[in-house]
Symmetry: C2
Subunit: 222 residues, 2 copies
């Protein structure tokens, strides 16, 4: 089930460089994304067909599937780069930092992206709400989270000098951190964006920190 090339970075800070062809491509993609989100938020995921979306965007259906691997992908691509961002953040954290602190800052990266007080935040809230209340989209989101967990577990194992697959700790720690992320999104979405997701994240990590910081010694328990 291959996803297309991540465009999260492009969406966050559209780079002015690159060729004309690539900017045209970006334009079509934005048009498609805009039309799709507009319709999906209005009529629900199953209430909108791809034909409607492409009609609104003024392109052919075939073109749609050149930009997005599936209808779900239109929404999920918003999250595409988050995994890489989190992994990079975790890799950049000082080695001396405890797992709970490092992972907390890691999770804060996408959380802060949602929380920034701009027009971006309102759109992020709409997308998150759509994902959380549409089973098909939520399933894809969780699948994406599972990939993030693998990446974070690998990075964490390297950080701590543990064999990536020998110990249960890295995968569990990554799972706990993402569980916190998920819980924060639910609360944030449920509160209509009134609660501060950054604060929620801190509170969530206060709960899971006792387990995160019980690191097994390298080469210890099989």
């Amino acid at each position: 089930m291959p996803y297309m090339t991540p465009r999260y970075d492009d969406l966050v800070n559209p780079r002015p460089d690159t060729s004309l062809a690539q900017r045209k491509r970006q334009l079509v993609s934005d048009e498609l994304t805009e039309a799709a989100l507009q319709l999906l938020a209005l009529k629900g995921f199953d209430g909108v067909t791809v034909d409607e979306i492409v009609a609104a965007a003024g392109v052919s259906k075939r073109t749609f599937f050149r930009y997005f691997a599936s209808k779900e992908d239109v929404v999920v691509q918003f999250l595409a780069g988050m995994g890489a961002d989190m992994r990079d953040e975790l890799a950049a954290r000082p080695a001396a930092e405890s797992p709970s602190v490092a992972l907390r800052h890691t999770v804060q990266v996408p959380v802060a992206a949602c929380a920034d007080h701009s027009d971006h935040a309102a759109r992020a809230l709409r997308v998150v709400r759509l994902i959380l209340r549409t089973p098909a989209l939520y399933a894809r989101f969780l699948e994406r989270q599972a990939q993030w967990r693998d990446a974070l577990a690998t990075e964490l194992a390297g950080r701590l000098g543990l064999a990536p697959d020998a110990d249960l700790y890295p995968r569990l720690a990554a799972g706990m951190a993402l569980s916190a992320f998920d819980t924060v999104l639910h609360r944030w979405s449920g509160s209509e964006g009134t609660e501060d997701p950054v604060v929620l994240t801190d509170r969530a990590f206060a709960v899971i920190a006792p387990a995160l910081d019980e690191v097994p010694r390298p080469g210890g328990a099989r």
Copy 2:
């Protein structure tokens, strides 16, 4: 995205009672499940069409969709009753038991079902492997896990006298427990069933227990 009536219990211990009509229905369902799992394990999820399955089972395609909400559902239905079972187990645990112990026994219910040394175990391993390595199925599995998490969080909140939605703890604790479950399944599947999933579960819970047993006092932190 409504799933059909759970039949996990029927599969675990087929009840001999009920009317003739219901037994006929059970027969068709079993035939369909058997044919589907046989083909899916052999040719992969996308390598098998519904038409092949119904041809092998000797029924029409229309009938297939009367028993299963989707092709994915054939596989996922194996897990249908696990959520209820876990919730029941958690509800039945003594109130004095700490969250980590209660949740560990809760997760051991489905784990033990996989581990029992019968012909059932081999089939369970095949199904788990199929789910874990098929993105579409794994996504559905995770979606199902999310439902379990909600149920477990509600049950846990009731156990501890916490408001279900006021505190982050119940949802996080349930998420951690299911994260352990998921990790155990991966390890068990990866080891081709040689590792004992019950032991793996105990080890996983040893990692997350420090966080699980830091219960916030009822009505404490907002």
